[in-house]
Symmetry: C2
């Protein structure tokens, strides 16, 4: 059996997330159906991790086993002709037999975009979280730094759902300990865009959005930046801020 790797971008707005579910329009479901139509055989597509309904990807990675002889370039073209415009195959290539989109991943990069302009232009409305209120960016930057390193992120994971959605799922499914390699906020004045960028070895369910919701609370003065270590320490979801909306979140890159 061949092992094929797909690099995928999507606008998650109109889908019920990555993961195939009965009677739901999902990204995994769409791609599996398209592969089955093209190759004539059923497949199990493995993604690097789930993304929630409304979350976007610029660099999701998936793999599947197939005995079809179709060349990767032809598969890519056929998939892009079959899939909706909102799901694009950026690359298709042969992977080594042991390559597994989830278990082989060593890091992921997420970006969350907050538009600080008074009015959100229509071409950005699907892709950013519009927050025109005042945010103190220095405070956000200080709070973001506290998240770097190895921590138990229970306080930043969905209540009652300790399952990670991500690269960590296999290695440490019962643990909420993850390592964040970098966590920073980048401000683009001309675009009035605050981008939170976080790279780590795995992320719990809703973790990035809960971090962002907390950073917004920090930015508007409701949480002190220096309280972040105590929030981590507490291992209590109620100590962190609300979960930020999905539309600003992008899975930017998966590293192997």
């Amino acid at each position: 059996m061949r092992n094929l790797r797909l690099d995928i971008a999507y606008d998650g707005t109109d889908f019920c997330g990555w993961q195939r579910q009965p009677d739901q329009d999902t990204i995994q479901g769409r791609i599996e159906t398209a592969i089955e139509r093209i190759t004539g055989t059923s497949v199990n597509l493995t993604g690097s991790g789930r993304t929630d309904a409304g979350v976007h990807a610029a660099g999701q990675v998936a793999n599947f086993k197939t005995s079809s002889p179709i060349p990767p370039a032809n598969l890519k073209r056929a998939l892009n002709n079959t899939l909706p415009d909102t799901i694009r195959i950026l690359r298709a290539e042969e992977a080594s037999p042991g390559f597994h989109a989830r278990y082989s991943a060593v890091a992921k990069l997420y970006r969350y975009r907050i538009l600080q302009a008074e009015v959100c232009p229509p071409h950005l409305t699907r892709f950013v979280c519009h927050y025109p209120g005042r945010l103190e960016r220095k405070r956000i930057g200080r709070a973001a730094q506290w998240l770097e390193g190895e921590h138990d992120f229970t306080s930043f994971a969905s209540t009652g759902d300790a399952l990670s959605e991500d690269t960590g799922e296999n290695r440490q499914s019962s643990s909420a300990v993850r390592t964040i390699f970098s966590s920073k906020a980048i401000w683009s004045a001309p675009l009035a865009l605050l981008t939170y960028e976080v790279r780590g070895n795995g992320f719990l369910r809703h973790m990035v959005r809960t971090i962002v919701g907390t950073l917004i609370e920090v930015g508007r003065g409701a949480i002190d930046p220096e309280d972040v270590p105590a929030i981590l320490e507490a291992k209590d979801r109620s100590k962190a801020g609300p979960t930020a909306p999905t539309r600003g979140l992008w899975l930017a890159r998966v590293e192997y």
Copy 2:
């Protein structure tokens, strides 16, 4: 009666164009309905010109008369709270009594975006025309220049529809003569984006899209750049290229 001016941006993808039509979801219709709900009185909203279904605007301008005492800033806020995210009021302000969004306009700027990348990223798919084929940009640039100046644009207007959709409508409704102040193609290598930018005193129906369809023919070698004067001269729609798709077209600015 007060005369209020609105500056408007929209993602035209999901609307049947600017102009109000019975039983159709249009941008003019949406804004009129929203103003009526907010002020409690019926209004006639005058746009600077129609845009077709699927065409976007970054700077459409409209005006309406009202006896409502609502301050412009409150009206803007209330409209943005009422309208869908895909229609945004960028500014609302008092205009002089004689200001008329269509008749007072002296120039319009349109931009048309052609994405030359192999795959169109999902966040651009609603807003660019994806043309991955080879285009010779120098040829396009030469052809674009021939359109500058005062010309009869019959060859670039929709067949059987001499009505202009634009600033010229009042002043010269029976004529297809328009003045193009500038006409140029701008290449952004990092974005693989070819932007055609045209500024003129008025535009016939489908004129920008027919120009772009012709420029694509020039770029791929099917029409010679030096044939543009003869195409203008012919006053025959069949001599120009096809009408390019709506999704790449933006009404960028109206000047008064």
